[in-house]
Symmetry: C5
Subunit: 367 residues, 5 copies
């Protein structure tokens, strides 16, 4: 029973479905992205003093914002092939970039093609229920006077505080160009990585506590699951560092000299996020070592005690055997206290052995 | 029997023939490549509006395409030394490159010699039956107005969708030069790597599931086989990244400025393929750890239960021995319920031990 | 009992609270830094011959020092948002830097924005009681003729000898500019890293001695704790190398050519501190190997001796069983010395076995 | 006996003499190279149409070839200090290079001093008998119109096919300069590395097969020996890559622009040889893991079966003890079938236990 | 006894004092260097034809050599703060360099400050008794026409052959400048590293031989000690490579163009010394693996044989128990040969088991 029982426990814990999700990334061949059911197109059209904030139903309704003198942020949540292609055509986004926007499992990167600076990365969310990191791909196309962001789904993003800030007139954000808006988006996204890292950090602490207290029988499976999340994290965070570094070194006309320092600030944060991911990985290795060493140690102790008990009882068996032999003449057998002498021997010898074992330090725990 | 039985199972599983294939790569000394039995030479000769698609029997029949104003794609499937040398001579391919084309086990690379940009890499296929990655070397010689591709065998390649696209007039592909055709070929090849990665990913998932369910006795051999495929993958994918990166940084006159962005797109994909290979390797290490830890754990549990049973029965043996001694006077022996008292002792003591073991948490599973 | 007992020992030893501290670093989102209760603002205003040393209550009281001809060092211990922002505004420190000063868990770095050279790093202290490395973030803003340092708390820093040196007139320090002061601060901080390294080194030695003597049952937990401190060290020391290297290569007008050699001296030290951290990590890995091998070895010896004892007693049990059988005719049973012959057999056979075991070298210790 | 027996087997297998050879490399201090007993000096003096091939007895006899208009290849097999110094003086080879030629255990490198391009590397041979890699140092001094090669011993080299090619007039080789000859020598040497790699590959396959079949008791020693050969390989192959890469990037007047592509071809091969060495190392690590896991697994199975047998027999011992007690009243003892009931119990209980063990999957092999 | 006995053996072997020495390196804070008791100041003042070799008592006596036209080598053995500062002041050695000279545990480096090229590194010696690597810090200050070397202690250095060569007139050494003298010193120091490497290599061989023969019970401690020496080696040798490389790339006026090739020769040697250190580390890892695997294997064999013996005796115990039961009717008990039948059973069954074990290959050694 015990062995089978823990197998039953482990089976659902080793999350093979999660492995499937992590491994199945194919950016081009079969564009398995389904057309979004729900699409939300919201627009901020602003300068330092004026702001129009509105939503449109059809993609064509935002075309007029392209050439006005305002900064325009078109945020498209939920991707439909036709929408993306049509907006791409109107705003001069090369079809290679359109392909990137529509692809899934793309590696974070920045590129400039035909006057469009294009950033692609993933927003990360932490799913508390499954203890896993979820991703939502976001593509940002920065043009002259406009910025278009494409999100995979319409239900969530990390830009709410940015929207609030946009609604305030005459701020640095409102007075700056589209490149500053681009920085602000990246800043929000990277800042949100820390929330995810924090949640994962909490899980690692809980795991360590359980291992320290030795009161969870699923630690191995949980460690294994956590290591998978580390793979997801690393894959999403590490290339963003290169991305931001490329932006800083870029000489694009779309990026003003004075905005560089802001991107450098993002760079600081993404650098540190990367180091945190590495620390987490170190920590997980340490934890796995600790866990396995502790399991091994406990097992050793159990086997040692069992072997000692078995060994201590062996002399009694021998003595019983000696006086159980059918010889005509056996010493002590006809004496009144013979039986008790034998029994006392059976007790004294193991005690003597115990003392010897003790002396050799066999009962010292080695943790 | 059991030990021998599993050895029988393992013997065919550890695939030493595969090791032979992987290790035996010698690009120069003994050109063991056999002359192809079957050779197919197919030609696309096109510009934006016109297209001639035809096959020739003899290599000389395609010589006339060299200096026409059209773009010519000569695809040679199945390599014969004489053919390659003769076409090399006519189209100005240096004999060092001819040697590369004819060699086997060559490392992917790009080179430019005497007005020919030369790419060599491997197409990858996944053999479902043997769960192994198969390679077919492809050499691409890009000249002014022509592109010649050399494939190892005539039975398969990954260019069918490209052929279909070529047959449509006035597309970007038809209107561009030979360098764009070169990009298209590389793009097809790299895209196909993802198919192979996907298949391998599926195998890893299955393996993980088997390990989680603990229902396969050949996991160790399968892990070992999978690690060999990882070596094949890494060897073929990693140098292609350098190759594409060199093309992008190349200042060859054969590559138009405007095609660079397309090669950058290929670069994105090959970068990501590389990272996937790394993820797979991490995953395999995790899996092997998990498997060995689980085997060890299960073994520990079995030994623990056996040791406990043996230990629990030892006191009964001692009691039996005590009352089996041949002393004249042994307490209880002449009482009516003496026997039952002894037997009850034999039962109570182990139960008491069990309770103590339980209290110490020795029956807690540690997974 | 023994197993539970060591679990009780280990529980408080595996320091999950420390893990929490190490993992919980979030530089931006929730600025959890509490407003300092105690703030100390002390000022050194000097040139080669004159020195004013005074403390002010309110931040505005130091504004006048900005544009005098003296070098001014404003040291702010204990951070309050309003203070930092107000001084930032007056001295032209960009709000991105103000944000960095107020953030926690920031990665060490150097930056120059709008005529301010900004260094951020951590001072390290060793807490003898908890054997852990404590950090205090320090930000240094170097402007033209002034230097402002921001410390997290008001109770300690590492600059006392520097203050003493400042009070002596006509020294190199007093005659040089603010950049030399900046160097002196960094030099003090880095020098203090060695004190921390030294303390940690002592702990490693003690740990090794305990493992060598085998007289501590908490070595595993202590090794684990030490590995966490290594993570803290590495995280704080490694980026400082990049920071100093960036200062040396910087072409800021705030740094005089002649000060470079001093920063190079700091670079030597931070390089070496880094290598020491690496040595320590190597040492810890060696120690953990040594410890686990020794535990394993000792366990093996115990089990071997127990198995030998059990094995030696088995023949006696068999002999007892043989002469205890109830056959009518059993040899020796009716002879006078029969019993003694049996007992002697019981003794001689194990002795023979012992001799054989000895010959095979089974009693040789293998350490 | 068994333990000692395998120790006897292992002793000669762990090849400490080989370790001595690998570790004892000292390029300068004690020039332990003994003067060669046999020296062969052979000369090819050629241009496109003419060829003189001859051997000389004394080193001075080749001095006249220096300033003729032909290309001269002087191949010196077997090194004597005086010879090398005298030829060095005549041909303008700096005494630092003479030192290098005469030293042993030198690291492969290229250098240009005073108009001499100097390459030093090792030719590798595979010793089939000892399964080890043998090295012969070769130094190449390329001057204007001449090339002098110095080999350690006179019995073997890898240039026979090159000599054959030199004897054919009007080939590329004959018409080119000394730099092309230099390329040809390096090409031959590097090509020969593949032969050695191939032989080592075969040994790895055999080793894997033995491990898979589990029919060799010396696998551990053989793995250990193979790992030493990997060290030799890596040490000799890796620096040659840097050497060739330096030649390609060199701007020496001794190397014609048009020869670069040939050195690039050598570079391809040495790159790949390096990757193969890495693959071999990976493979060896996998093999060692596999072997140890299999040994451990087999051991586990043996111990499990033994423990099961011991455990199954314990209840019978207890039952025997119960009915062997000397109570006046023991149930069943006076019944006719009492004995058989007891014996049947002794058989049924272990069978019941077996069934339980089986159900828990304890007889499933886990490979 | 056995367990304690080996602990006694191990205690002095794990050299915690050595750890203390290795870890306690603090270049600045507490300058624990004690003033040298013995100081030797020896001077070589030479040009191609003239040589004055003399020793002075007081540091001031060598001041006059600074501005003569000869090359002056002042070698100071044994450091006293006052001496170093006074000579520093006279010869224009910046006080940062004086600090470096007086510091201990400094990382090897080269620096140029105010017309002084400054090299600091360690001479290595091998202590045969303790099998440890000893270091002596040497600082070299190269100025225009003079070179001052500072050694830690007066009892030993590695320059005796150099002194002999200096005494010969009209050699390259005597005719060259102070930079060539500097090269010669570095060359001597690096050459001496090989002596130390050679000695360590011998120890590794001995260790391997002992492990192969399995005749030393202190191998674990010796491996551990050796790994510490590797840390010392790596720490001292690796930065010297950077040092020499920096000298080669330096554009100091103190270094003549023509001396570069000599420093390149030193670079070759230090490169190779580095690779040797890496090889040694690989070798040590292999050795530790080998040792632990062998210990484990031997332990396994012992436990297997013991378990087999115990298991083989169990059936005899059962048979003895069966015929020892007190049933009225027990088959065979009243037959004449009954006893012998039982005993023969007791012998035959274990033999049968042995045969079965043998068939399953349980007695095959797996090394
Ligand atoms: Mg995704
Ligand atoms: Mg997504
Ligand atoms: Mg969204
Ligand atoms: Mg941020
Ligand atoms: Mg921010
Ligand atoms: Mg080639
Ligand atoms: Mg191939
Ligand atoms: Mg192929
Ligand atoms: Mg094909
Ligand atoms: Mg593609
Ligand atoms: Mg595509
Ligand atoms: Mg793309
Ligand atoms: Mg910041
Ligand atoms: Mg902090
Ligand atoms: Mg802090
Ligand atoms: Mg403070
Ligand atoms: Mg300092
Ligand atoms: Mg200092
Ligand atoms: Mg040399
Ligand atoms: Mg050699
Ligand atoms: Mg040699
Ligand atoms: Mg030779
Ligand atoms: Mg070749
Ligand atoms: Mg060739
Ligand atoms: Mg074990
Ligand atoms: Mg210094
Ligand atoms: Mg030292
Ligand atoms: Mg020293
Ligand atoms: Mg000395
Ligand atoms: Mg030397
Ligand atoms: Mg020398």
């Amino acid at each position: 029973m015990p062995v089978n029982k823990y197998l039953n426990l482990i089976r659902p814990l080793i999350n093979t479905k999660r492995t499937k999700e992590i491994l199945l990334v194919n950016p081009t061949i079969i564009p398995v992205r389904q057309e979004a059911e729900k699409t939300v197109i919201s627009i901020f059209d602003y300068n330092g003093t004026e702001l129009k904030e509105f939503a449109v139903q059809h993609i064509v309704d935002c075309f007029e914002c392209k050439d006005n003198n305002h900064i325009t942020w078109i945020n498209i949540e939920g991707l439909r092939k036709q929408d993306v292609e049509s907006i791409g055509q109107h705003f001069g986004i090369h079809y290679l970039l359109v392909e990137d926007i529509l692809s899934i499992g793309q590696r974070p990167k920045v590129d400039e093609i035909d006057g469009i600076l294009f950033c692609l990365l993933n927003m990360l969310y932490f799913n508390e229920e499954t203890s896993s990191v979820e991703t939502e791909q976001i593509s940002i196309a920065l043009g002259k006077g406009f910025l278009i962001s494409f999100q995979e789904d319409a239900d969530r993003d990390v830009f709410d505080t940015l929207r609030a800030r946009l609604r305030v007139a005459n701020t640095k954000l409102r007075q700056s160009g589209a490149d500053y808006l681009c920085y602000s988006l990246l800043d929000m996204i990277v800042d949100h990585y820390y929330l995810v890292l924090e949640k994962l950090g909490e899980r690692i602490e809980l795991l360590e506590e359980d291992i320290a207290r030795f009161n969870d029988s699923r630690s191995l499976a949980r460690i294994n699951n956590m290591r998978k999340e580390m793979i997801v994290l690393k894959r999403n965070v590490a290339p963003v560092r290169d991305m931001v570094s490329n932006i800083i070194r870029s000489e694009s006309e779309l990026l003003q000299e004075s905005t560089t320092k802001y991107f450098k600030d993002v760079y600081d944060h993404i650098m540190q996020a990367n180091e945190l991911v590495e620390s987490y990985r170190d920590m997980m290795t340490s934890l796995q070592d600790l866990y396995l060493n502790k399991v091994n140690l406990k097992m050793n102790e159990v086997m040692k005690v069992l072997a000692i008990v078995t060994c201590l009882l062996a002399p009694a068996t021998v003595i019983g055997g000696i006086f159980g032999m059918n010889f005509d003449i056996i010493p002590l057998t006809h004496q009144r206290k013979g039986f008790y002498i034998a029994v006392i021997l059976m007790i004294i010898i193991p005690i003597g052995m115990l003392v010897m074992f003790k002396k050799r330090g066999w009962f010292k725990q080695s943790v």
